[in-house]
């Protein structure tokens, strides 16, 4: 099937009534969960996975993708109204969005955020449509060494780009990888770290880890802030109208930062959070009046909003074309693919064009829905923020428990969920980032498999990793991404002394 036919198939899926319904459902749920302080896209996707059991995989994934970019879209509302970002990707939006709301221009801020997000999302879907098939056609020739090197790059990049200590991020990734080794080794049939338990022979399900480390750990923090009321959400948000000057002012940053956000989204390890910060800083650097940033600047809000949404679509490029997630959120998306019996990667475009193109095409509709949801309906949707926290906590726990049970039918997995919830909470407490953990857990099995396949091909010689140009370049990039933060910290220490 040619690309044009594929695109048409995708639009056929996206514009079917079921497609439209599930996109709408996805973006609505995503907006809802993304808005709630604490719960991010990873929890949103993980909570939704059990609901997709038995569904048509294409529609399920169209919905999940909607949940993802909907959560990034929704996160900005609580950033602007409450200065409490729903997700880390919208922290930069609060720098100028919240001051604007305090000046009585919350409506204007929400409109700028919605329009910038829409533009960022739509521009990047066009780019996704161009780049994903190109990359997939290149990746089809990748052998096990190139795949191993690619995954290694994904891991080192996310560890080195994580906030805070690089050592802690690397530890997080290594422990995630270790958890992935539990169970029967597929190549030799050896049981590894099962402690004689039948329940561990199949390994630990990724949903147990995703819901434990993210949803349950986030609930722990919600328990601690249970008495906080969502003040401000019910107040007047003012007019949503933008002046001609506002539109003129935001058009430059939106155009530039959509492109930058998309590129950063493709890169392993980057993602919406880093993209939004870099875009904010970049716009501030080139602004004629940088002193306005942080005090309610239109540019300061438009830039991160366009960028974080563009990065979300960008993150789909490696996921759909290579089958390799570059961030914690796309790692959970990959998990969703696997649960539904699909393997994303270069073969997906040819084998299942309706899935590959259906997801991409649905993003156009999803972005339009988000604009409609976020412009006129936002004062009503923002009331979600007034849901009493105790009820919210109970319901999130209920969704997590049922999700895990429905995938394994095992009470043992519920205990494991609780254990990973405690681990996730402790990780947050002691500043160990969780995304490298989940990424390493999901990539771990695949990495080990491609490494061992490579070694079998070369009869045990490691030189196979350096014989192919692609794997050589990727390994050099992995080493650089690993060495860069270390060199940077040594450099800054030298400078300081």
């Amino acid at each position: 099937m040619g690309a044009i036919e594929g695109i048409l198939t995708g639009f056929e899926v996206a514009f079917s009534w079921e497609g439209i319904l599930f996109v709408l459902l996805g973006v609505f749920v995503g907006t809802f969960i993304g808005m709630l302080p604490g719960l991010g896209p990873i929890s949103a996707i993980a909570i939704m996975i059990p609901i997709t059991y038995g569904m048509d995989p294409t529609l399920a994934l169209v919905m999940m993708a909607g949940v993802y970019y909907g959560a990034v879209f929704g996160g900005s509302t609580s950033s602007i109204l409450l200065n409490a970002p729903g997700i880390s990707g919208t922290v930069a939006s609060s720098f100028d969005g919240y001051p604007m709301a305090q000046q009585g221009k919350a409506g204007k801020a929400l409109a700028i955020a919605a329009i910038s997000s829409f533009a960022g999302g739509t521009i990047s879907v066009v780019l996704l449509m161009i780049f994903a098939p190109m990359l997939a056609s290149v990746a089809i020739s990748f052998g096990p060494p190139a795949y191993f090197a690619l995954m290694l790059l994904g891991l080192t990049a996310i560890a080195s780009l994580s906030e805070g200590s690089t050592i802690k991020a690397l530890i997080s990734a290594v422990v995630g990888f270790m958890i992935a080794t539990i169970g029967i080794d597929p190549q030799t049939g050896t049981g590894r770290f099962t402690f004689g338990s039948m329940n561990l022979l199949d390994g630990i399900d990724f949903l147990v880890i995703a819901l434990g480390l993210f949803a349950i750990a986030e609930v722990c923090y919600l328990v601690m802030s249970r008495h906080k009321s969502a003040t401000g959400s019910g107040k007047e948000i003012g007019s949503l109208k933008l002046s001609k000057d506002d539109v003129k002012e935001m058009s430059g940053p939106v155009g530039r930062q959509s492109l930058l956000g998309f590129i950063l989204g493709i890169l392993p390890g980057a993602g919406a959070t880093i993209a939004s910060f870099i875009s904010y800083i970049a716009e501030k650097r080139i602004a004629k009046k940088p002193e306005e940033f942080g005090k309610g600047s239109v540019k300061g809000l438009a830039a991160p909003e366009a960028s974080n949404n563009a990065a979300t679509s960008g993150a789909f490029v490696p996921l759909l074309s290579l089958g390799i997630p570059g961030s914690g959120t796309t790692a959970v998306m990959l998990g969703a693919f696997l649960v539904l019996g699909l393997q994303p990667g270069p073969m997906l475009m040819g084998d299942r064009p309706e899935v590959f193109w259906g997801i991409i095409a649905s993003m156009y509709i999803g972005n339009i829905f988000l604009l409609v949801l976020n412009l006129p309906l936002i004062p009503y949707i923002a009331r979600i923020l007034t849901i009493p926290r105790p009820l919210l906590i109970s319901l999130v726990l209920m969704f997590s428990l049922i999700g895990v049970y429905a995938i394994s039918f095992s009470v043992f997995d519920l205990y494991l969920l609780l254990a990973f919830g405690v681990i996730g909470f402790l990780m947050r407490m002691f500043a160990f980032p969780a995304p490298p953990f989940i990424l390493a857990f999901i990539l771990g099995g695949m990495m080990e498999q491609s490494f061992r396949q490579s070694m079998t091909i070369s009869n045990g010689s490691i030189s196979i990793m350096f014989e192919n140009n692609i794997s050589l370049v990727l390994i050099i990039l992995s080493v650089l991404s690993f060495a860069f933060p270390i060199a940077k910290s040594i450099w800054s220490k030298k400078k300081a002394s």
């Binding site: 059990p50 609901i51 059991y53 038995g54 805070g164 200590s165 050592i167 802690k168 690397l170 530890i171 290594v174 422990v175 990888f177 270790m178 080794t181 080794d185 190549q187 030799t188 050896t190 590894r192 770290f193 609930v219 722990c220 328990v223 601690m224 249970r226 008495h227 009493p388 926290r389 105790p390 009820l391 906590i393 109970s394 319901l395 726990l397 209920m398 428990l401 049922i402 049970y405 429905a406 039918f409 009470v411 519920l414 205990y415 609780l418 405690v422 947050r428 407490m429 002691f430 500043a431 080990e448 490494f451 061992r452 070694m455 079998t456 070369s458 009869n459 045990g460």
Partner: protein
């Protein structure tokens, strides 16, 4: 030596990596396999050991916000333990009493325990959500959830 948080965590992780390494070296190996089942675990164990030692000797680079996250007031510790206990009871009785009974009770008592005093809304939410979810899973998705002592 073990005054900083990083040092304590580093030591715990180093001990864990030693335990993991010990178990990795116990894994059986087979001839004629270039990379056996023990290779990756052994590598990971050594890498974690090196990283743990690096953590022990690294400076605490956590921000003030991160440090504030570690200070949990006593009443919150009690609340967290309480929710943990409710979850444990839920899991223990889940298959015996069934999904509906346990989930209704869990949602109601968990919300009540965390300070939600509107009993009518609480009762409605804790009955409607579990029953709706049970119906979706069992009747629409054909995924069987434990019915326990209830006849449906």
């Amino acid at each position: 030596m073990l005054q900083g948080v990083n040092r304590k965590i580093g030591l715990i992780l180093a001990l864990l990596s030693i335990g993991y390494l010990y178990m990795s070296y116990q894994l059986p190996t087979y001839p004629y396999i270039p990379v056996d089942a023990d290779a990756v675990p052994k590598t990971l164990g050594w890498v974690l050991l090196v990283l743990s030692v690096a953590l022990i000797f690294s400076k605490d680079s956590d921000s003030e916000e991160q440090k504030a996250k570690r200070r949990i007031p006593k009443k919150d510790v009690k609340a967290l333990l309480g929710v943990g206990a409710l979850l444990l009871i839920y899991i223990m009785l889940f298959e015996t009493l069934g999904f509906i009974i346990m989930t209704v009770l869990f949602v109601y008592f968990c919300s009540w325990f965390l300070g939600y005093k509107n009993h009518i809304v609480n009762a409605i939410v804790s009955i409607v959500f579990p029953i709706a979810l049970y119906s979706i899973f069992v009747f629409m998705l054909q995924i069987k959830l434990p019915q326990g002592i209830l006849p449906f």
